[in-house]
Symmetry: C2
Subunit: 188 residues, 2 copies
């Protein structure tokens, strides 16, 4: 295992056991079996361990969208499928870590701001991917990307709050829910 992964694992273990506030960088480095210096080569600070600094998720989702046969141009479904393929296995396997991370972020306004900025970047990356995949109209691109990320956000939140459905089920649930609620408006 690389030192970065060792540090992430150690940090998450300590956040769960002792709380985010009570965990020091010294303890994280010690548990990972590396020096504090190694920690600072990988992360700027303690909060950095919680974030995907390289926008890895955004890049994977973008690659997934570009790889699909988009001749049917059902882009919202493709985006939701990207999240199903790319995040669902990890979300099921690491539920405890994800919930802990979520609660840490909700309780620290500065971390919440950073999380919102990550979602903003994710949306921008998906907009670009849709454009590359052949969705030329800017308004279509923007709206589609925002709807994809919205469905992801809603599914993620409910996944954290409730264990009644898997992450995949929540993604499909909110895909249908958006469609249902918008449709309802028309029949009134």
């Amino acid at each position: 295992m690389k030192s970065k992964e060792k540090l992430q694992l150690a940090a998450n273990k300590l956040f769960i056991e002792n709380g985010y506030e009570n965990t020091t960088i010294e303890q994280i480095a010690q548990l990972a079996g590396v020096t504090k210096r190694t920690f600072y080569r990988q992360f700027k600070d303690k909060s950095d361990v919680l974030f995907d600094a390289d926008n890895k998720l955004g890049k994977s989702v973008a690659a997934y969208i570009k790889e699909q046969d988009n001749s049917n141009s059902n882009y919202i479904r493709t985006g939701v499928d990207a999240f199903i393929d790319l995040t669902a296995p990890m979300f099921s396997a690491e539920r405890e870590r994800i919930i802990t991370r979520y609660h840490i972020i909700q309780n620290h306004p500065d971390l919440l701001e950073r999380e919102l900025l990550k979602m903003f970047e994710l949306t921008e990356t998906i907009k670009d991917a849709l454009k590359s995949a052949g969705l030329v109209d800017q308004n279509d691109c923007d709206t589609t990307a925002e709807l994809i990320v919205l469905i992801f956000k809603l599914a993620f939140q409910r996944f954290v709050d409730e264990e009644t459905k898997s992450f995949v089920e929540w993604l499909n649930y909110f895909f249908d829910k958006c469609s249902f609620l918008i449709d309802k408006e028309k029949t009134i």
Copy 2:
């Protein structure tokens, strides 16, 4: 005019004329005809002038939603109408200030983070308002509030980028666009 409004007007004038970076709190206070001390009684710092610290917009939208007759329960439309009634006149009258503000925020990651947090708070306020107005299911509330804010966000962005439509026209445009894109998925 109250000193708070005087300071906001002065700050916006200076941001437009000299740029955000080049404007000092001293200059803002001077142009408003008050002391620096008065500035700091109203605002924490220069960036604070750009933000609606009291979530005034969120509270107004919430009040609007609660006041409507919701027996038809077309909540997304009600939310979009709230933005039309509450923000459209101001948006048309102060287009230059709004565009300047938008560009300042886009160019400063810390201000962008704060803006995203404001949108997050706005969404939470609308969720609560929908619940009070009779939308009992949590998933319906969350999805409806997110869709309302999404339509507002998309319309706002395009209003800033393009002068081809009024803010009201952009709101209605993206209301229809969301519906159209989601519908298209079904016919494939």
